[in-house]
Amino acid sequence: MGRVAIIGVGQSQFVRSYPGAIRELVFEGFKESVTDAGITSKDIDASVVCSAPEYDKQRSPAGVFAEYLGLNPQPTFYTETLCSSSSTGLKLAYSLVKSGLHDVVAVIGFQKMSEISSSESQERMGRGADIQWESPFGTMMPAYYAMFAQAHMDRYETTPEDLALIRVKASTYGQLNDRAVYRKAVTADMFADSDHIMSNAVSSPLRVGDCCANADGSSCILVASEEKAKAFCKKPIWIKGIGAASASVNMSGRDIFTGLSAAREAADQAYKMAGVSPDDIDVAEVHDCFTIAELMAYENLGFAEPGKGCELIRNKETYKEGRIPINVDGGLLSKGHPIGATGGSQIRTIVLQLRDEAGDIQVRDPQIGLVHNIGGVGLYGNVTILGRE
Protein backbone atom coordinates (compact mmCIF):
# COMPACT_ATOMS: atom_id res chain seq x y z
CA MET A 1 0.00 0.00 0.00
CA GLY A 2 1.37 3.40 -1.02
CA ARG A 3 1.89 6.52 0.99
CA VAL A 4 -0.79 9.13 1.70
CA ALA A 5 -0.29 12.82 0.89
CA ILE A 6 -1.86 16.21 1.39
CA ILE A 7 -2.29 17.77 -2.04
CA GLY A 8 -4.27 20.90 -1.27
CA VAL A 9 -4.96 23.19 1.68
CA GLY A 10 -7.37 26.04 2.25
CA GLN A 11 -8.96 28.12 4.94
CA SER A 12 -11.35 31.03 5.10
CA GLN A 13 -10.63 34.30 6.78
CA PHE A 14 -11.23 33.70 10.49
CA VAL A 15 -13.64 36.38 11.73
CA ARG A 16 -15.66 37.29 14.80
CA SER A 17 -18.94 37.08 12.96
CA TYR A 18 -19.25 35.64 9.47
CA PRO A 19 -21.91 37.48 7.47
CA GLY A 20 -23.23 34.44 5.63
CA ALA A 21 -24.58 30.90 5.86
CA ILE A 22 -22.44 27.95 6.98
CA ARG A 23 -22.43 26.48 3.46
CA GLU A 24 -20.99 29.76 2.16
CA LEU A 25 -18.39 29.83 4.92
CA VAL A 26 -17.33 26.29 4.04
CA PHE A 27 -17.13 27.18 0.34
CA GLU A 28 -14.31 29.64 1.08
CA GLY A 29 -11.92 27.08 2.57
CA PHE A 30 -12.94 24.46 0.02
CA LYS A 31 -12.37 26.76 -2.95
CA GLU A 32 -8.87 27.62 -1.80
CA SER A 33 -7.96 23.97 -1.33
CA VAL A 34 -9.15 22.72 -4.73
CA THR A 35 -7.57 25.75 -6.43
CA ASP A 36 -4.37 25.00 -4.53
CA ALA A 37 -4.44 21.35 -5.67
CA GLY A 38 -5.51 22.23 -9.21
CA ILE A 39 -8.42 19.79 -9.12
CA THR A 40 -12.22 20.00 -9.24
CA SER A 41 -15.04 18.57 -7.15
CA LYS A 42 -15.28 15.66 -9.59
CA ASP A 43 -11.77 14.52 -8.59
CA ILE A 44 -12.83 14.17 -4.94
CA ASP A 45 -14.13 10.71 -4.02
CA ALA A 46 -15.46 11.41 -0.53
CA SER A 47 -15.60 14.10 2.13
CA VAL A 48 -15.33 14.14 5.91
CA VAL A 49 -17.03 17.10 7.58
CA CYS A 50 -15.72 18.12 10.99
CA SER A 51 -17.31 20.43 13.58
CA ALA A 52 -18.80 20.61 17.04
CA PRO A 53 -22.53 20.25 16.36
CA GLU A 54 -23.89 22.21 19.32
CA TYR A 55 -23.29 25.46 17.43
CA ASP A 56 -25.17 24.39 14.34
CA LYS A 57 -28.84 24.94 13.64
CA GLN A 58 -28.49 22.71 10.59
CA ARG A 59 -28.78 19.02 11.39
CA SER A 60 -26.31 16.84 9.53
CA PRO A 61 -24.41 19.62 7.73
CA ALA A 62 -22.26 17.14 5.77
CA GLY A 63 -25.08 16.44 3.34
CA VAL A 64 -25.78 20.14 2.84
CA PHE A 65 -22.14 20.88 2.06
CA ALA A 66 -21.78 17.92 -0.31
CA GLU A 67 -24.51 19.44 -2.47
CA TYR A 68 -23.23 23.03 -2.19
CA LEU A 69 -19.65 22.05 -3.03
CA GLY A 70 -20.60 19.87 -5.99
CA LEU A 71 -19.70 16.66 -4.17
CA ASN A 72 -22.86 14.67 -5.00
CA PRO A 73 -23.19 11.74 -5.40
CA GLN A 74 -19.93 10.97 -3.56
CA PRO A 75 -20.27 9.80 0.05
CA THR A 76 -19.80 12.22 2.92
CA PHE A 77 -19.24 11.54 6.60
CA TYR A 78 -19.40 13.64 9.75
CA THR A 79 -16.98 13.49 12.65
CA GLU A 80 -16.52 15.32 15.93
CA THR A 81 -13.88 15.46 18.65
CA LEU A 82 -14.58 18.98 19.91
CA CYS A 83 -11.67 21.33 19.07
CA SER A 84 -9.67 18.60 17.32
CA SER A 85 -12.46 17.54 14.95
CA SER A 86 -10.54 18.24 11.76
CA SER A 87 -7.43 16.39 12.95
CA THR A 88 -9.72 13.45 13.56
CA GLY A 89 -11.10 14.05 10.06
CA LEU A 90 -7.54 13.87 8.72
CA LYS A 91 -7.02 10.54 10.45
CA LEU A 92 -10.26 9.20 8.96
CA ALA A 93 -9.30 10.48 5.50
CA TYR A 94 -5.87 8.87 5.86
CA SER A 95 -7.56 5.57 6.74
CA LEU A 96 -10.00 5.80 3.83
CA VAL A 97 -7.17 6.42 1.37
CA LYS A 98 -4.71 3.98 2.92
CA SER A 99 -7.32 1.22 2.82
CA GLY A 100 -7.86 1.81 -0.87
CA LEU A 101 -11.54 2.66 -0.43
CA HIS A 102 -11.04 6.16 -1.85
CA ASP A 103 -8.28 7.99 -3.73
CA VAL A 104 -8.97 11.64 -2.88
CA VAL A 105 -10.79 12.73 0.31
CA ALA A 106 -11.66 16.29 1.39
CA VAL A 107 -11.45 17.03 5.13
CA ILE A 108 -13.79 19.96 5.65
CA GLY A 109 -13.70 21.72 9.02
CA PHE A 110 -15.95 24.58 9.99
CA GLN A 111 -17.58 26.44 12.85
CA LYS A 112 -19.88 29.39 12.97
CA MET A 113 -19.79 30.25 16.65
CA SER A 114 -21.22 33.74 16.35
CA GLU A 115 -24.85 32.67 16.27
CA ILE A 116 -24.84 32.34 20.05
CA SER A 117 -23.54 34.76 22.70
CA SER A 118 -20.08 34.46 24.21
CA SER A 119 -21.42 33.32 27.59
CA GLU A 120 -23.72 30.79 25.94
CA SER A 121 -20.73 29.62 23.99
CA GLN A 122 -18.72 29.24 27.22
CA GLU A 123 -21.55 27.20 28.66
CA ARG A 124 -21.64 24.94 25.61
CA MET A 125 -17.89 24.53 25.71
CA GLY A 126 -18.13 23.69 29.40
CA ARG A 127 -20.52 20.95 28.38
CA GLY A 128 -17.64 19.42 26.44
CA ALA A 129 -16.69 18.32 29.94
CA ASP A 130 -18.65 15.92 32.18
CA ILE A 131 -22.18 17.32 32.22
CA GLN A 132 -23.42 14.92 34.88
CA TRP A 133 -20.75 15.46 37.52
CA GLU A 134 -18.82 18.63 36.66
CA SER A 135 -21.00 21.10 34.79
CA PRO A 136 -23.41 21.50 37.77
CA PHE A 137 -20.49 23.21 39.57
CA GLY A 138 -20.28 25.87 36.84
CA THR A 139 -17.35 24.87 34.67
CA MET A 140 -15.90 26.41 31.55
CA MET A 141 -12.83 25.81 29.43
CA PRO A 142 -10.66 28.64 30.85
CA ALA A 143 -11.28 27.36 34.38
CA TYR A 144 -10.22 23.83 33.51
CA TYR A 145 -7.05 24.95 31.79
CA ALA A 146 -6.47 27.35 34.69
CA MET A 147 -6.35 24.35 37.02
CA PHE A 148 -3.51 22.97 34.89
CA ALA A 149 -1.75 26.35 34.97
CA GLN A 150 -2.13 26.49 38.77
CA ALA A 151 -0.66 23.02 39.18
CA HIS A 152 2.19 23.73 36.73
CA MET A 153 3.12 26.94 38.54
CA ASP A 154 2.94 25.20 41.91
CA ARG A 155 5.19 22.32 40.88
CA TYR A 156 7.62 24.08 38.54
CA GLU A 157 9.13 27.53 38.06
CA THR A 158 6.48 28.59 35.56
CA THR A 159 5.06 32.06 36.18
CA PRO A 160 2.15 34.13 34.85
CA GLU A 161 4.81 36.22 33.10
CA ASP A 162 5.98 33.15 31.16
CA LEU A 163 2.44 32.63 29.94
CA ALA A 164 2.27 36.28 28.90
CA LEU A 165 5.42 35.73 26.81
CA ILE A 166 3.60 33.03 24.87
CA ARG A 167 0.82 35.51 24.02
CA VAL A 168 3.41 38.11 23.05
CA LYS A 169 4.99 35.61 20.64
CA ALA A 170 1.56 34.74 19.21
CA SER A 171 0.82 38.39 18.53
CA THR A 172 4.22 38.87 16.88
CA TYR A 173 3.08 36.49 14.16
CA GLY A 174 -0.63 37.19 14.34
CA GLN A 175 0.14 40.68 13.08
CA LEU A 176 1.55 39.06 9.92
CA ASN A 177 -1.40 36.72 9.35
CA ASP A 178 -4.14 38.33 7.27
CA ARG A 179 -6.49 35.43 8.06
CA ALA A 180 -6.29 36.04 11.83
CA VAL A 181 -9.03 37.60 13.97
CA TYR A 182 -6.64 39.36 16.37
CA ARG A 183 -3.87 41.26 14.59
CA LYS A 184 -2.85 43.86 17.17
CA ALA A 185 0.43 43.83 19.08
CA VAL A 186 0.32 42.41 22.60
CA THR A 187 3.12 43.28 25.01
CA ALA A 188 4.21 41.98 28.40
CA ASP A 189 3.51 45.48 29.73
CA MET A 190 -0.19 45.01 28.99
CA PHE A 191 -0.28 41.97 31.27
CA ALA A 192 1.58 43.96 33.96
CA ASP A 193 -0.88 46.88 33.75
CA SER A 194 -3.84 46.14 36.03
CA ASP A 195 -5.95 48.62 34.06
CA HIS A 196 -5.36 46.84 30.76
CA ILE A 197 -7.96 44.34 29.58
CA MET A 198 -5.25 41.75 28.86
CA SER A 199 -4.51 41.54 32.59
CA ASN A 200 -8.13 41.05 33.70
CA ALA A 201 -8.66 37.80 35.59
CA VAL A 202 -10.73 35.17 33.83
CA SER A 203 -10.06 32.19 36.04
CA SER A 204 -6.95 32.32 38.19
CA PRO A 205 -4.14 32.30 37.19
CA LEU A 206 -5.35 32.79 33.60
CA ARG A 207 -6.09 36.31 32.37
CA VAL A 208 -7.87 37.64 29.30
CA GLY A 209 -4.58 37.70 27.39
CA ASP A 210 -4.04 34.01 28.10
CA CYS A 211 -7.21 33.00 26.25
CA CYS A 212 -7.97 32.64 22.56
CA ALA A 213 -11.15 34.09 21.11
CA ASN A 214 -14.13 32.42 19.51
CA ALA A 215 -14.27 32.80 15.75
CA ASP A 216 -16.12 31.77 12.63
CA GLY A 217 -14.10 29.99 10.00
CA SER A 218 -13.61 27.03 7.71
CA SER A 219 -10.69 24.93 6.52
CA CYS A 220 -10.22 22.21 3.95
CA ILE A 221 -7.43 19.64 3.54
CA LEU A 222 -7.28 17.40 0.46
CA VAL A 223 -5.84 13.96 1.15
CA ALA A 224 -4.77 11.68 -1.70
CA SER A 225 -3.18 8.35 -2.52
CA GLU A 226 0.45 8.35 -3.63
CA GLU A 227 -0.56 7.68 -7.23
CA LYS A 228 -3.06 10.55 -7.34
CA ALA A 229 -0.75 12.86 -5.41
CA LYS A 230 2.01 12.39 -7.96
CA ALA A 231 -0.42 12.90 -10.83
CA PHE A 232 -2.04 16.06 -9.43
CA CYS A 233 0.60 17.74 -7.36
CA LYS A 234 4.15 19.09 -7.73
CA LYS A 235 4.75 19.37 -4.00
CA PRO A 236 2.79 16.67 -2.15
CA ILE A 237 3.31 16.74 1.59
CA TRP A 238 3.34 13.25 3.07
CA ILE A 239 1.52 12.10 6.20
CA LYS A 240 4.31 10.34 8.06
CA GLY A 241 2.82 9.79 11.48
CA ILE A 242 -0.64 10.16 12.92
CA GLY A 243 -1.47 9.60 16.59
CA ALA A 244 -4.72 9.92 18.50
CA ALA A 245 -5.64 9.24 22.10
CA SER A 246 -8.27 9.94 24.72
CA ALA A 247 -8.35 10.60 28.47
CA SER A 248 -10.94 10.68 31.26
CA VAL A 249 -13.51 13.41 30.66
CA ASN A 250 -13.90 14.01 34.40
CA MET A 251 -10.91 15.69 36.02
CA SER A 252 -11.22 13.17 38.84
CA GLY A 253 -9.90 10.60 36.37
CA ARG A 254 -6.65 12.47 35.68
CA ASP A 255 -3.42 11.53 37.41
CA ILE A 256 -1.55 14.76 36.72
CA PHE A 257 -2.45 18.41 36.15
CA THR A 258 0.89 19.54 34.75
CA GLY A 259 0.35 18.07 31.29
CA LEU A 260 -2.18 16.31 29.04
CA SER A 261 -1.82 12.53 29.01
CA ALA A 262 -3.70 12.16 25.73
CA ALA A 263 -1.27 14.56 24.03
CA ARG A 264 1.70 12.58 25.28
CA GLU A 265 0.18 9.32 24.12
CA ALA A 266 -0.73 10.71 20.69
CA ALA A 267 2.78 12.14 20.31
CA ASP A 268 4.36 8.79 21.18
CA GLN A 269 2.23 7.08 18.52
CA ALA A 270 2.99 9.69 15.86
CA TYR A 271 6.75 9.76 16.49
CA LYS A 272 6.88 5.95 16.41
CA MET A 273 4.87 5.70 13.19
CA ALA A 274 6.97 8.38 11.50
CA GLY A 275 10.24 6.96 12.84
CA VAL A 276 11.35 10.37 14.07
CA SER A 277 12.05 12.03 17.41
CA PRO A 278 11.24 15.51 18.77
CA ASP A 279 14.70 16.68 17.67
CA ASP A 280 13.78 15.96 14.04
CA ILE A 281 10.84 18.39 14.02
CA ASP A 282 11.66 21.64 12.16
CA VAL A 283 8.38 23.52 12.68
CA ALA A 284 5.24 22.86 14.72
CA GLU A 285 1.72 24.06 15.26
CA VAL A 286 0.39 23.39 18.77
CA HIS A 287 -3.05 23.83 20.26
CA ASP A 288 -2.72 27.15 22.14
CA CYS A 289 -6.36 27.64 23.09
CA PHE A 290 -4.77 29.04 26.26
CA THR A 291 -1.17 30.04 26.83
CA ILE A 292 -0.73 27.23 29.36
CA ALA A 293 -1.83 24.77 26.67
CA GLU A 294 1.12 25.80 24.47
CA LEU A 295 3.52 25.53 27.40
CA MET A 296 2.28 22.03 28.23
CA ALA A 297 2.54 21.10 24.54
CA TYR A 298 6.27 21.97 24.59
CA GLU A 299 6.68 19.37 27.28
CA ASN A 300 4.16 16.75 26.12
CA LEU A 301 5.73 16.75 22.64
CA GLY A 302 9.23 16.34 24.02
CA PHE A 303 10.57 19.74 22.93
CA ALA A 304 11.33 20.43 26.59
CA GLU A 305 11.66 18.28 29.70
CA PRO A 306 8.66 18.38 32.06
CA GLY A 307 8.80 21.68 33.92
CA LYS A 308 11.27 23.24 31.48
CA GLY A 309 8.78 24.55 28.94
CA CYS A 310 9.11 28.03 30.40
CA GLU A 311 12.78 28.11 29.36
CA LEU A 312 11.84 27.63 25.69
CA ILE A 313 9.71 30.75 25.65
CA ARG A 314 12.04 32.80 27.88
CA ASN A 315 14.89 32.04 25.47
CA LYS A 316 12.70 32.64 22.40
CA GLU A 317 13.51 29.16 21.14
CA THR A 318 9.98 28.81 19.78
CA TYR A 319 10.22 31.97 17.69
CA LYS A 320 10.72 31.68 13.92
CA GLU A 321 14.50 31.86 14.20
CA GLY A 322 14.64 29.63 17.28
CA ARG A 323 15.49 25.95 17.77
CA ILE A 324 11.89 24.79 17.30
CA PRO A 325 9.56 27.41 15.74
CA ILE A 326 6.05 26.98 17.14
CA ASN A 327 2.81 28.68 16.07
CA VAL A 328 4.53 31.15 13.80
CA ASP A 329 1.13 31.79 12.15
CA GLY A 330 -0.05 33.42 15.38
CA GLY A 331 -1.69 30.30 16.79
CA LEU A 332 -5.23 30.06 18.05
CA LEU A 333 -4.43 33.00 20.34
CA SER A 334 -4.22 35.28 17.27
CA LYS A 335 -6.18 33.46 14.60
CA GLY A 336 -9.16 32.74 16.81
CA HIS A 337 -10.54 29.25 17.38
CA PRO A 338 -13.42 28.19 15.13
CA ILE A 339 -13.60 24.74 16.78
CA GLY A 340 -14.08 22.43 13.79
CA ALA A 341 -11.86 24.46 11.45
CA THR A 342 -8.88 24.85 13.78
CA GLY A 343 -7.04 21.58 13.12
CA GLY A 344 -7.32 22.13 9.36
CA SER A 345 -5.87 25.61 9.74
CA GLN A 346 -2.94 24.21 11.72
CA ILE A 347 -2.35 21.53 9.07
CA ARG A 348 -2.53 24.16 6.33
CA THR A 349 0.18 26.23 8.02
CA ILE A 350 2.55 23.26 8.29
CA VAL A 351 1.89 22.19 4.69
CA LEU A 352 2.68 25.71 3.45
CA GLN A 353 5.83 25.74 5.59
CA LEU A 354 7.02 22.40 4.19
CA ARG A 355 6.38 23.64 0.66
CA ASP A 356 8.35 26.83 1.37
CA GLU A 357 5.23 28.83 0.59
CA ALA A 358 4.62 30.42 4.01
CA GLY A 359 5.66 33.95 3.03
CA ASP A 360 6.60 36.27 5.89
CA ILE A 361 6.46 33.49 8.46
CA GLN A 362 8.51 30.97 6.46
CA VAL A 363 10.89 28.94 8.59
CA ARG A 364 14.22 28.15 6.91
CA ASP A 365 14.07 24.94 4.85
CA PRO A 366 11.88 22.73 7.09
CA GLN A 367 11.76 19.02 6.21
CA ILE A 368 9.45 17.69 8.92
CA GLY A 369 6.56 19.47 10.65
CA LEU A 370 4.19 18.56 13.46
CA VAL A 371 0.59 19.43 14.32
CA HIS A 372 -0.73 19.07 17.90
CA ASN A 373 -4.49 19.51 18.16
CA ILE A 374 -6.42 18.94 21.39
CA GLY A 375 -10.14 18.37 21.90
CA GLY A 376 -11.67 19.54 25.17
CA VAL A 377 -9.42 19.69 28.21
CA GLY A 378 -7.10 17.01 26.89
CA LEU A 379 -10.07 14.72 26.38
CA TYR A 380 -8.83 14.03 22.86
CA GLY A 381 -5.17 14.31 21.82
CA ASN A 382 -4.11 14.35 18.18
CA VAL A 383 -0.58 14.62 16.82
CA THR A 384 0.21 14.53 13.11
CA ILE A 385 3.69 14.50 11.58
CA LEU A 386 4.09 15.69 7.99
CA GLY A 387 7.15 15.64 5.76
CA ARG A 388 8.50 16.64 2.39
CA GLU A 389 9.71 13.11 1.73
Binding site: S119, E123, E134, S135, P136, F137, S252
Partner: protein, 143 residues
Protein backbone atom coordinates in the same frame (compact mmCIF):
# COMPACT_ATOMS: atom_id res chain seq x y z
CA UNK B 1 -37.87 7.49 48.67
CA UNK B 2 -41.47 7.33 47.51
CA UNK B 3 -42.36 5.76 44.23
CA UNK B 4 -42.30 8.13 41.26
CA UNK B 5 -43.17 7.64 37.65
CA UNK B 6 -39.91 9.24 36.62
CA UNK B 7 -37.03 9.18 39.04
CA UNK B 8 -35.51 12.59 38.27
CA UNK B 9 -33.84 13.24 41.60
CA UNK B 10 -30.54 14.14 39.94
CA UNK B 11 -31.96 17.39 38.63
CA UNK B 12 -31.36 18.76 42.15
CA UNK B 13 -27.58 18.41 41.83
CA UNK B 14 -25.58 21.64 41.69
CA UNK B 15 -26.53 25.17 40.72
CA UNK B 16 -27.77 23.93 37.35
CA UNK B 17 -28.10 20.23 36.60
CA UNK B 18 -27.89 18.98 33.04
CA UNK B 19 -28.98 15.48 33.98
CA UNK B 20 -32.24 14.30 35.54
CA UNK B 21 -32.29 10.54 35.37
CA UNK B 22 -29.42 8.24 36.27
CA UNK B 23 -29.12 4.84 37.90
CA UNK B 24 -27.08 6.42 40.69
CA UNK B 25 -29.86 8.79 41.78
CA UNK B 26 -29.49 7.56 45.37
CA UNK B 27 -26.45 9.86 45.42
CA UNK B 28 -28.93 12.72 45.89
CA UNK B 29 -30.66 11.00 48.81
CA UNK B 30 -27.27 10.49 50.39
CA UNK B 31 -26.48 14.20 49.99
CA UNK B 32 -29.73 15.00 51.73
CA UNK B 33 -28.51 12.83 54.61
CA UNK B 34 -25.15 14.65 54.69
CA UNK B 35 -23.30 11.86 52.95
CA UNK B 36 -21.12 12.23 49.85
CA UNK B 37 -20.84 8.77 48.39
CA UNK B 38 -19.17 6.76 45.68
CA UNK B 39 -19.71 3.21 44.48
CA UNK B 40 -17.67 0.03 44.84
CA UNK B 41 -18.08 -3.00 42.59
CA UNK B 42 -19.22 -5.94 44.69
CA UNK B 43 -17.80 -8.32 42.15
CA UNK B 44 -14.21 -7.07 41.73
CA UNK B 45 -13.85 -4.33 44.36
CA UNK B 46 -13.13 -1.48 41.92
CA UNK B 47 -13.88 1.88 43.55
CA UNK B 48 -15.55 4.73 41.67
CA UNK B 49 -16.01 8.41 42.27
CA UNK B 50 -18.08 9.89 40.77
CA UNK B 51 -20.32 6.91 41.48
CA UNK B 52 -21.16 4.58 38.61
CA UNK B 53 -23.85 1.99 38.06
CA UNK B 54 -21.60 -0.22 35.96
CA UNK B 55 -18.05 -1.52 36.43
CA UNK B 56 -15.85 -1.23 33.36
CA UNK B 57 -13.26 -3.50 34.94
CA UNK B 58 -15.44 -6.63 35.23
CA UNK B 59 -18.70 -5.49 33.56
CA UNK B 60 -20.72 -6.18 36.70
CA UNK B 61 -23.58 -3.86 37.62
CA UNK B 62 -23.73 -5.09 41.19
CA UNK B 63 -22.47 -2.06 43.07
CA UNK B 64 -22.53 -0.91 46.69
CA UNK B 65 -22.28 2.61 48.08
CA UNK B 66 -19.48 3.87 50.30
CA UNK B 67 -19.24 7.25 52.02
CA UNK B 68 -16.32 9.58 51.40
CA UNK B 69 -14.71 10.28 54.73
CA UNK B 70 -11.31 11.36 55.95
CA UNK B 71 -9.32 13.87 53.96
CA UNK B 72 -7.86 14.25 50.50
CA UNK B 73 -4.95 16.27 49.15
CA UNK B 74 -5.71 19.37 47.06
CA UNK B 75 -4.25 18.65 43.60
CA UNK B 76 -5.22 21.91 41.94
CA UNK B 77 -7.88 24.62 41.83
CA UNK B 78 -8.93 27.80 40.04
CA UNK B 79 -10.90 30.86 41.07
CA UNK B 80 -13.48 31.79 38.43
CA UNK B 81 -13.82 35.50 37.70
CA UNK B 82 -16.83 35.02 35.47
CA UNK B 83 -19.19 32.18 34.86
CA UNK B 84 -21.26 30.46 32.22
CA UNK B 85 -25.00 31.06 31.80
CA UNK B 86 -26.90 30.06 34.94
CA UNK B 87 -23.96 30.46 37.31
CA UNK B 88 -23.40 34.23 37.26
CA UNK B 89 -24.83 34.75 40.74
CA UNK B 90 -22.31 32.28 42.17
CA UNK B 91 -19.24 34.29 41.05
CA UNK B 92 -16.59 34.22 42.38
CA UNK B 93 -16.22 30.53 43.12
CA UNK B 94 -13.42 28.00 43.02
CA UNK B 95 -13.33 24.60 41.39
CA UNK B 96 -10.82 22.03 42.56
CA UNK B 97 -9.73 18.39 42.62
CA UNK B 98 -8.98 16.40 45.80
CA UNK B 99 -6.90 13.22 45.72
CA UNK B 100 -8.06 10.56 48.18
CA UNK B 101 -5.60 7.97 46.89
CA UNK B 102 -8.07 5.32 45.73
CA UNK B 103 -10.16 7.94 43.94
CA UNK B 104 -10.29 11.67 43.27
CA UNK B 105 -13.13 14.16 43.67
CA UNK B 106 -13.92 17.18 41.49
CA UNK B 107 -15.97 19.90 43.17
CA UNK B 108 -15.95 23.41 44.61
CA UNK B 109 -13.96 24.83 47.49
CA UNK B 110 -16.14 26.20 50.33
CA UNK B 111 -16.98 29.84 49.62
CA UNK B 112 -16.07 30.99 53.13
CA UNK B 113 -12.42 29.98 52.74
CA UNK B 114 -10.01 32.85 52.06
CA UNK B 115 -7.82 32.61 48.95
CA UNK B 116 -4.77 32.97 51.16
CA UNK B 117 -5.72 29.81 53.05
CA UNK B 118 -5.68 27.66 49.93
CA UNK B 119 -2.48 25.82 49.04
CA UNK B 120 -1.98 22.93 46.64
CA UNK B 121 -1.10 19.85 48.70
CA UNK B 122 -3.19 20.86 51.71
CA UNK B 123 -5.53 18.32 53.32
CA UNK B 124 -9.23 19.00 52.79
CA UNK B 125 -12.47 17.15 53.38
CA UNK B 126 -15.59 16.88 51.26
CA UNK B 127 -18.85 18.04 52.84
CA UNK B 128 -22.43 18.41 51.64
CA UNK B 129 -23.44 21.95 50.74
CA UNK B 130 -27.06 23.09 50.62
CA UNK B 131 -28.01 25.58 47.92
CA UNK B 132 -31.14 27.67 47.35
CA UNK B 133 -34.38 25.92 46.32
CA UNK B 134 -33.47 22.63 48.02
CA UNK B 135 -30.61 22.09 45.61
CA UNK B 136 -27.45 20.31 46.75
CA UNK B 137 -23.80 19.96 45.89
CA UNK B 138 -20.63 19.30 47.85
CA UNK B 139 -17.64 21.46 48.71
CA UNK B 140 -14.14 21.07 50.06
CA UNK B 141 -13.10 22.65 53.33
CA UNK B 142 -9.95 22.76 55.40
CA UNK B 143 -9.49 19.82 57.75
Amino acid sequence: MGKREIDDRFKKFGTVSFTATTKVNDFIDHLENDRVSGTRCKSCGQVYFPPRADCHACLSSDMEWFDIDGSGKLMTFSNLGFAPVGFQEDVPYRIAVLDYGEFKVFGRIASDMADTDIQIGMEMKTIVNRLADDRLNFVFEKV
